[in-house]
Structures are given as structure tokens and as C-alpha cells.
Amino acid sequence: MEKNKYYRDELPENNPSFEFNRRDFVKLLGGGLFIYFQLGDFLTGIAAEAEQRRSLPTDYNSFLHIGEDGNITCMVGKIEMGQGIITSFPQMIADELDTPIESIKMIMGDTELCPYDMGTWGSMSTRVLGPSLLSAVAEARAVLLGLGAEYLKVKPDEVSVENGTVFVKANKDKKVSYGQLTKGKRVEKFLDVKPKPKDFSEYKIRGKSFKRADGVAKVKGEAMYSGDFRVPGMLYAKILRPPSHGATLVSADTSEAEKMDGMVIARDKDLVAVLHKDPEKAEAALIKVKAEYKFDEMKVDDKTIFKHLLDFPSEARVVKNTGDVESAKKKAELSFEGEYHNSYVAHSPMEPHTALAYFEGDKIILRASTQTPFGTQDGVARELGMSLDKVRVIPPFLGGGFGGKGAFLQAIEAARLAKATGKPVMLQYTRKEEFFNDTFRPAAVIKITSGVSKTGKISMWDYHEYFAGSRGAESFYEAPDSKTTSHSARDVHPFGTGAWRAPGNNTNTFARESQIDMMAAKTGIDPMEFRLKNLKDERMIGVLKAVSDLFGWKPAKSPSKRGYGIACGIDAGSYVAHIAEVKVDKATGKVKVVRVACAQEMGYCINPEGSIIQMEGCITMGMGYALSEEVMFTGGDIHTANYDTYQIPQFSWIPKILTKILDKNAAPQGGGEPGIICMGAVIANAIFDATGARLYQLPMTPARVLEAIAKV
């Protein structure tokens, strides 16, 4: 097949009629040792975390292959979008298997080669998939030791392994490499008794910092993203978009576009597109399409949205309830009411949603930037009326995701167009389409009533979140009477919303930590002391003390005019605490973040440098939703279309960043999201400390800062 030369990655592509069964799978990867696992075993853990979109497969599938060349291929359903599991997974595998890290190759997210996975989000790769992966690898190691002993003609307990070589403990010269062991053989192993993965004390590769495995490919511009693939006859598609969400296409006149040379017009119900081998010709043709719409939009805009959210009939769910908040409200020595808002925020990955779709016989292949390859497979199969085994999704590198690439409309559209035209279709969203079709972080309201004694002990806490999502809504501060209520409803938003890096938690942490700060200030207690005084959770106390040391915190009553703020929170099983220093220009309302310190406790940290990079990324990205990022709209009409009206953090914003990961021998926890959750609150609290002005709405734009200062 000629097409093979168009791929620059290492995926085995040489068998276009490849069917998903074990025999062909083995054929594809050649000889060697295959370790099979019953997926149900490790998927149970994932199933507990979120609702499954399909029933769990029960057949055996492999996710580890040891080749005759000694190379070890690991297949996981996760994808790499910058978060770095392409580096940390090999660390875990190599360490468990006692083999050099360079010998580990990852195949990620290919729906045909990799075991089912719900999607790459929620900082779940290491903490949820990790343990199953390690059990698998421990099993592989036991199998290899057994084969080694057999080869060396000794008992299994007489051998050990180092650097991918099995040797006799009594005589190290008697040895055999993993590769040699599997040579000429095709071994499939199932172990009944599962060996235990290694203890922390035995870790050699884990806990050390490794450079990104994909660094060189990425600096050379060789790393392949969805838009970089080429297949013969491929057309670039440009889709006719409505002027707003809530607009329905009445008619489309494509006659002018049709006259253009080489233009292909596709119509599939409401989907109208022009396609051409030259993307700019397609773009030019799209402008010539005349369309009429009818409108049925919500009467709401970026200013009235918060009233809309509170007025909207919603369902209340009590997340947590201890004591009796109603009577405690009346008894509180000091009472506080806080209402916090945050606007819609875009994901805005640098790579817009992209998909290449093409048929090979009756099978459709998709190269798609998606955080949910299997969800995309489900979606395409459903939309095209095809069975799952006729849909293969192969996600290459993703140019950022942040939750936004959990949505895969672009893949569905590309697949529909490939079917409608019979041609390979490349669909790359323009930046405007990316904003328009984004599933934004939802606008939300948080209402808190809290009570505190004059000595600074929180007495009651009544927390209501409206449409933020309940992640991070529960308070970890001690309060005898505490209630958390989550309010949700369908179709409340005028357009799509979805998970945005640490969904819900940014909004919830902003509200909770602002309220805590308010109480500390009112009782005249240093905000660090106030927090410690109301906490019993040792992990939280640990990160607060660590960040205090890191920053060099000196106790003072707020507002101290120093511009120092504190915030802390829990996300994805990890604990974080931040301290920020800001400068506020009282004339313009402009906030400059000067310094941010962050301490994180994430259980055992596999790749410290990789985790620090994520923390730095979180701090940097988090400044955007804190200070400037806000989607502007009227009804379903999204005014935000490009970076001139949507400001993301830039180089001149970067503060001095200090990070600390606490050592801990406990199960690894999430690292891609926790560091971002405090950014709204920590900056808000620092602004209060600098000016005495309390900000109740994110983002804290210069106009809002000025408004708050005027009220002081």
C-alpha cells in the first residue's frame, strides 16, 4: 500500500484489512511475548470514577508486548497532549520490569491496538490506570523470570533480573536477555496468581526526573499532529457555520461556489461544506455560499448570565450535610454572605480541533485530535450507522486539550463528509470555529453563608454551587454545621459547556478560599494562621506549611498592603497550596502577578520534573481565567472569535514561580490539574491584601478591579 509512506509515525499500518482479534494482533507485532489481561480487572477502577459510555469488554486484550529485539511496546488507551505520560509511563514500566527506559515504546489511544479507555482527563492516567498498568508489568516480569529460569535450567527463585537481562544469582555469567528469551517464539501468557508490583523502596527509575520523550521530535517540527497527515486525494473541508448557536439553517445556495474549479460541495442534512485540495480555495468558496437561518436563541448575554443562572429552575442535590446549618446560622457570632461569579472560559488549545477521515474499503480511519478516541469511535459509528469494528480512531500528538478535546464534533463532521464525498477529508477548525464550537467552562454562581466565632473558629458553612460542577465544592475546613448543595439543570446554557482543566474546582476554590480570606480579615487573624486553625486534615496542613516556607510567609493581618494572598485546595487526589504576590495599579486597575509559590502533595511522584512542569503550566494558564479570559456573547452569538478579543497569558505576565513537591510514599495521584485550582482565589486574595478590595467575579479585569477599589 502506497499510503504507508504518508505516515511518519511508528504505528504498524501495513495491514489495511486488519481486524480486531488476537491472532491478527499477534501477526501485526510479530513474534515475542504478549502479556494479556482481562480488561474488566483494571477497568473497574475507572468505572467507579465516571459513568461508562459502553459496557466493559470482558475479552482478553494485550497491553504489553516484549519483542525479539528486546523492545517493549506498551499499548494504552490514553493520549499525549503535553501532560507528559509519554515519559512517565515508560518510567513506571521500565522500573517495574528492570529494563532500560529507552527500550519502552508507547502506542497510545489507537482504538484498534489499545485496550478500551474512557478518555484522557481528570488527571487519571497515573492514579487510576497506573496501578493496573503496574500489575500488568509485574506479571510480565514474573513470566520473563520464569522463562529465564527455564532457559538457564535453574529454579525460578534462583534467578534475578537487571537491565533487561535475567541471570542466575549464584553465577552472574549465566544470563539471557529479554529479547533472546522471546526469540523465535510467540508466547502468550496468562498468569492466574498475580504477582505484586514493587514497593517504593525498590524504585530506581521512578522518582527521578526525565526529559520529555517527545522533546526532540517536537523541536524539529517532526511530531505529527492530526493536521499533518496526508493521504492521496485528500480534500480540505470548510463547513458552513450558523451565525449563532440556536440558529437553524433554512436554505443554502452553493451555486457560486460550485462554479469554482475543483470545488466539491457536500450536503448531508444540516451539514453543508465546500471541499478543495487547496484549503484556501475552499475558504474562499465558503464565503460565496449564501445561507438563510431562522433563530431561536436564549435572551441572555455575558452581563445577564448570572441572574439567568440563579433564576433558572434547577435541581438541588445535597453533596454533604453535617449538623444543622439553619439553626447554626442564627447562632453565629459573625456572619458572612458571599456571592461569587465566573464567566465562560474557552479552552483555546493552540491546535484547533482537527480530524482527517478516510475510508479503506468499508472501514473508516480517523486521525483526530481527541482526548476520547474510544468515545470518538462510538460517536462516528453511531452517526454513520457503522459497527465499532469498522471505525478506527488513531490520535496522534495533541496540540493541547485541557478538557476541550473531550468533545469530538470535528471527527463526526469529517467522517460524515468523507462518507458524503467518498474522498479523504481533512477538517481543521479555524480559530473562529474553535471558539464557536468550544465546550466552554460553564459560567457559574456560588453562594456561601458562613459563620465564625470572634476567636476565628468557623462555626457554620452553607455552600451552594450553581452550574459550576461539584468537583471541589466540599469544604475541607472543620465546621460543626456544614452543608454543600449542588444545583444543576439541563439546557441552562445558550451553547455547549464541558470539562475545563480541573472542572468545577477552579470556580469552587475561588469562592471557598475568598470566603475563608474574608473571615480571616474580619477576625483580624493572619490568613495562614486562620486556615491552619480551622484544619485537621494533615495533608492540607502539610502543603500550607510547605508553601509558607517556600514563599517566606510572614504573618500579618490582611489587608497588609503587601499584596500577598493564600489559597489551597484538593483536586484529583492531590493537595495544593499557593501563595501569590501581586502589584495592583490603582489608577488603571491592572494587576501584575509578581511571584507565585506552590506546594503540592501528590502521593509518590513518578517524574518530579514532569510534575513541576505541570505545576508551572497550571500557574501560568490559571492567570488567564483569573485576570482576563472571558467569552463575550449575546444569546447564541459568540463574539469572541480570535485572540484580539480573548487574552491568554503571555510572556510579560510570567511571575517568579516557586514550586515544591512533598515527598510521600503513597499511591501516585493526579498532577495535570491540581496546580491550577487556586489561581483565581490566590490572586483575588492578594488583590484584597494589596488594596482592601474584594473581587467577587472572575476574571478580575482592570475594570472590575477599579470598581472594587472604588467600593473600599
Binding site: 497532549m81 503535553g82 501532560q83 507528559g84 526529559k211 520529555r212 517527545d214 522533546g215 526532540v216 521530535a217 517536537k218 523541536v219 524539529k220 517540527g221 517532526e222 511530531a223 505529527m224 499532529y225 493536521g227 499533518d228 496526508r230 485540495k277 487547496d278 484549503p279 484556501e280 480555495k281 474562499a284 483555546s348 488549545p349 493552540m350 491546535e351 484547533p352 500528538f397 495533541l398 496540540g399 493541547g400 486539550g401 485541557f402 481543521q428 479555524t430 480559530r431 520534573e609 512542569i613 508551572e616 503550566g617 497550571c618 500557574i619 501560568t620 494558564m621 480570535n642 485572540y643 484580539d644 491568554i648 497569558p649 503571555q650 510572556f651 510579560s652 505576565w653 510570567i654 514561580i657
Partner: protein
Amino acid sequence: MAENIQFELNGKKVELPLEKGQTLLWALRTNFNLTGTKYGCGEGYCGACTVILDGEAVRSCGIDMKDVKGKKIMTIEGLSANGKLHPVQQAFVDHDALQCGFCTPGMIMNAYALLFKNPHLTREQIIEGMEDNYCRCGAHKRIIEAIESVAGTSKV
């Protein structure tokens, strides 16, 4: 009949029929299959499509092909000579100055041009010169450090 234009691309003379409205970005990505240069915003805000035109960093999404006639273009693919990474590329690897990597080629090309003009860039000049290249993952701190590590050395 379409006019053919000639220009230099990564050190080689190339020729291309001039298509009305074609930008350098898409000529590179489609005609030459040089996909290291990325589309990020299409309007010159983000810098993902940055290439070098006669020694200057430019946004290829805003350059009409008719203006490329007779010029020298260098893309990320032309930066590493004989397979060896350019010092700026090496510095990005050494500092882990990237995450998703999508903005990386544009970042490197922009940094390359800044250093080409002034090998002794200060930290402030780096920040100012890189300001309009966007990164969403938040690798800025390390990008600054990577460029700082080669500024003022004999490497550039």
C-alpha cells in the same frame, strides 16, 4: 496561465505556480508538505506559523505568496543542519521548554531570529521579543530560560 514564482526554501531553490490568495503558511503545508509550521489563529496573533523571511521572523499566515518571490525562507525543518539540533532547539529540549509542542516550531523560529539580530539578548529583551508568540500549556518560564541559556554564548 499561472505565473511561476521562484524562491529559496531551506537553502534550496524552489518553484511554485502562483495561486491567487495563497499564503506562505498553506504553500508550505500543502505544496511542500512542511508541516512543522502550524496554523494557530490565521490572523497573525499567535505566532504558531512563524518562519524566517530574509532573516526576519514573520507570520506565514499573513504573507501572500506573490511577496515571497525571490526571497529566502527558512522553516523549522531547515533549522537543524545535518540532523544536528540547532543550539536553540537543543536548549528547548534541555529545558523541557515545551509541553504539547504545537507552538514550539514558531517559538523556536522567533527566538532564532531574535538571537540572529542580537546574540546578546537580555532577559527583558527575550520577554519583549517573544511576547506575541502564544503558548497555552504555560511553558513560558522554561522558554525564557532556554533562550537565556544560549543568549550571549558562542553557540549563536
